[in-house]
Symmetry: C2
């Protein structure tokens, strides 16, 4: 997004007076970050303390904290909505890149699932109302209110670049972001404790005392869940946790972009709007990508069901389930690696301009893709070390090793492909939108006036946009090439194929496949508690990576 302070003479005369506000921009950010860090660390302390039954922090304390935070955040959101509704000039600019439709659509979808989860949770805790503290029933109800308010807020305000009450808005956004992260942490911890509990009962008796006692807390302290409806509620809300986790993360990313956009000045609002035309989801492809992807998706579902049915059986059936699971994953990951690589190769022949403009949404997307991949990387490296150093070398070890290596390769090449795609400009037939189209020389900015005089009248094509004192990376030489339809079709096929594969690879761990524990190689090598800590910390990031890759690939598909 091209930005410029195009002030008229009146504004430039006021500029010295406005200087103190400019000075405070970093100060305001610092203040809100400090607030967020402190609240988040307090929440983190209580949540991690609450996960261990040995520690005298109870889950009611955690619920009370989360409920308070959600109430405060909801109040702030209502205040914000009221203020911007009454004072339209508070939001003079809107960032066209922020809150794209698939992100907001995903938010609404996950928000609805979270509401269903809250219903289940309320039902579950109401089943033994008499011996539970009231906060446990209040918590899902307040969460439902918070989810509704926040989803509406993000739907209407995700693109805002607000220009009033800067410090207050930054603090409010950061506090809401912190609330979402705290909910995410609480959900991840709760789910890990639940997983440790069910796997501990099913296939392992080597639970450490900490985990054992912790997991017993999730079933209620004094009462047990015996009725059929209560059991359904309990099962249901545990299966809906992944959606709640994704909802919190989606909301967090959108809030972060809003926070970055507070007080931002955009050239867009001055005349020509940069809003991209509403993207069409149905575009020409060769159908090879979606068909192959759908086949893999269906096979993956079957494999997942077979795995889930067989894995809790006796030794030979577990072994068989693992072989099927790993084989499918190896084929899928191998194909994805090859397809990502071929996508990168196609880009070598694609001479579309790279879009180097500032875009907080894209920067965050890239950072999240790279950061979230670390989770799966870490698990894979621990697996590789365990298989290579460990003594038993059998079929399962070989499959595990191949799986871990391919996982690393797939994440790496997929990230390279997605990041390169996101940095491509819009399709070739449209000339670079980012530079104002009216006057051919307007895109030029000069660091000194000598250079201006030295230049010929107006260089037309290729257009060399000279960066100013701020950022030489933005030096873009835009070369318009023929459209190359076959390339764009191929890229769409590739993105759809990768998208479907990422969905199936998301479904498996999100709905409970844990070959990490069924397969005994790593558990024997690292010991249960260390390996459980590694997997429970890293796997949520791996699951989030798949979700985020899906939304990024959808963007790649629409933009290519």
């Amino acid at each position: 997004m091209s930005e410029a302070l195009a002030l008229g003479p009146k504004e430039s005369a006021q500029a010295p007076r406005a200087a103190p506000r400019e000075v405070w921009k970093k100060g305001g950010r610092l203040l809100s970050v400090l607030l967020a860090v402190n609240v988040l660390l307090l929440a983190c302390t209580l949540i991690s303390g609450g996960a261990f039954n040995k520690v005298a922090v109870y889950d009611t304390d955690v619920f009370a904290l989360l409920t308070t935070m959600m109430l405060l955040a909801a109040l702030w959101i209502l205040f914000y909505l009221l203020r911007t509704a009454r004072c339209p000039e508070a939001v003079p600019y809107r960032d066209a890149h922020a809150g794209p439709i698939w992100l907001r659509g995903g938010l609404v979808l996950f928000g609805i699932c979270t509401l269903v989860m809250d219903v289940f949770k309320t039902g579950y805790y109401s089943s033994f109302f008499e011996c539970q503290s009231a906060i446990k029933i209040l918590h899902p109800l307040i969460q439902a209110v918070f989810v509704i308010v926040q989803t509406y807020f993000l739907w209407v305000s995700a693109k805002d670049c607000i220009h009033v009450h800067l410090d207050l808005t930054r603090c409010g956004l950061m506090f809401t972001l912190t609330t979402n992260l705290a909910i995410w942490m609480a959900a991840v911890v709760d789910e890990s404790v639940h997983q440790a509990h069910s796997y501990g009962n099913a296939s392992h008796t080597r639970l450490t005392p900490d985990l054992e006692r912790a997991s017993s807390s999730s079933g209620g302290d004094a009462c047990s869940c015996n009725t059929a409806i209560c059991q359904i509620f309990q099962q249901g809300y545990f299966y809906l946790y992944p959606f709640n986790i994704e909802y919190s993360l989606f909301a967090s990313t959108m809030l972060y972009v809003m926070w970055k956009n507070v007080g931002r000045l955009l050239a867009a609002a001055l005349g020509h709007s940069h809003t991209p035309s509403p993207p069409s989801l149905f575009r020409e492809t060769y159908f090879a990508g979606p068909i192959l992807g759908l086949i893999l998706f269906m096979v993956g579902l079957v494999v997942f069901i077979i795995y889930e049915v067989q894995v809790s059986g006796e030794g030979a059936r577990t072994q068989q389930a693992l072989v099927i699971y790993y084989s499918f994953n190896i084929v899928c990951l191998g194909l994805m690696t090859l397809v990502s690589l071929s996508g990168s190769v196609i880009y070598r022949f694609d001479r579309r301009a790279m879009d180097h403009h500032k875009n907080p949404t894209r920067t965050l997307d890239v950072a999240l893709l790279m950061g979230a991949a670390l989770g799966q990387y870490a698990i894979s490296y621990y697996s590789i070390v365990a298989v290579v150093v460990g003594t038993p070398r059998d079929l399962l070890g070989a499959l595990n090793l191949a799986h871990a290596l391919l996982m690393i390769a797939q994440h790496t090449f997929q990230n390279v492909f997605i990041i390169e795609s996101l940095h491509r400009g819009p399709p070739g037939e449209e000339p670079p939108r980012e530079s104002p189209p009216k006057e051919p020389c307007q895109g030029l900015t000069f660091a000194n006036l000598d250079a201006l005089h030295a230049l010929p009248a107006c260089p037309s094509t290729p257009r060399l946009v000279k960066p100013s004192s701020a950022d030489p990376q933005e030096a873009v030489a835009i070369i318009l090439t023929p459209r190359g339809h076959w390339r764009r079709r191929c890229l769409r096929d590739i993105s759809l194929f990768l998208l479907l594969c990422n969905v199936i690879l998301w479904i498996m761990p999100a709905f409970g496949a844990r070959p990490h524990f069924s397969n005994t190689v790593e558990v024997d090598f690292y010991g249960y508690s260390l390996w459980a800590a590694i997997v429970n910390i890293c796997l949520p990031f791996g699951i989030f990576y798949r979700m985020h890759a899906v939304s990024s690939l959808l963007e790649v598909y629409v933009l290519s």
Copy 2:
């Protein structure tokens, strides 16, 4: 640092040809980051695996990996030095902000201490040469070579903005950075295991089996260290670990800045040099800051010695040692908080211009200050929860609570003060150096040419620097105010006082004070293993924070 692509007509004609390289800039960064992430995760896996004796990864594996990495990094450094020596045009620009003298001086100082540590380590492992694997003696020797080569490299090349073999250089720098981080991780793990061992023996018998077995490995597997000289070597090298840790982190930050500067274009090289005049360490102060700081420093040393002598005694003496320790820390932290706050208040009256120019060194400094503070924040929050929720409320609990709260306040206000100081321009009597001083209009950059025609001939004061399409934050209205000597003197006093306090607060934990374990509140509340994990992960960051704050405060002192 002001940057501009001030190409002559010849270069601009070549620009379309140079475009593909520009396109690859992010690609090259991505490639090197992926390399670094993978190497680092592999090292992390082996190091964390090697720390647990139960896991079949031995410390010789870790030593072998580190030795290989250091050899490769040293070879790359030699190649780089050779290339830049033979081809001076490879480094057309130098970043004046990178590698300031105090950072390089600190690097040399810590490098020398690391060399001494390597001598001790070689001596220690040579004492029982016959029953050790050769890699344990080879490792410190190779490390010594690596430290010498790297220190020389960073001394001469820290400011380089290299423009040949961009991808190779980025990968080489990232690999060297990864090597330093791996050495840092190995040192932190080794020191934590050693601490757990000594505290486990001295005051706690509740070590988990993992830690107990792990710590026994540091004393050697088959032989024991019985001779007096061997014991001296062992003691010596453990006391020198903090310097090795700091050396690795200093080198990492300098390498990161070099990596950011690869391929960077600076306006500075075109004529007028921006190199600041060599700063003088002796400047006018009111002497109150340094004298008060020195008094606190001496008292702190005495308290530290009393604490170390008394804490391993029986109950009452431990109690007394803790009361003295906490009391001193509370006084020290309280004074530091007040002084930081008054520094921030002074800035409210200081109308020096804020320097918003791009400066990778400063951005990294700020990120490191904020990030490293998280370690101490986390410890403090866990302490607060333990004291508030835990049942026994005695003098020690109250002191602990006050200490934790003041720790948070002190880190917060000191960070605010340092970050604000680093963003101030140079002293008032020098007009903004960043904009070229020759022509008064040169500092102006325009987003469109209309604005140029609309403006009067040349606005003089206040100078409004109009940002280009890249970054509106850089809109700086520079207002020159009277010099205000008393303020600058006060700021120097404040920075010297804070500097000395940070040094004493660094010495205490770096040389082994662990009130976290002597004080039983948290250990009883969280259990030994959880609390040890929290402290051992977070404290190294807290110690690094102190070091980094000292170097930043030195910069504040010199620049104010």
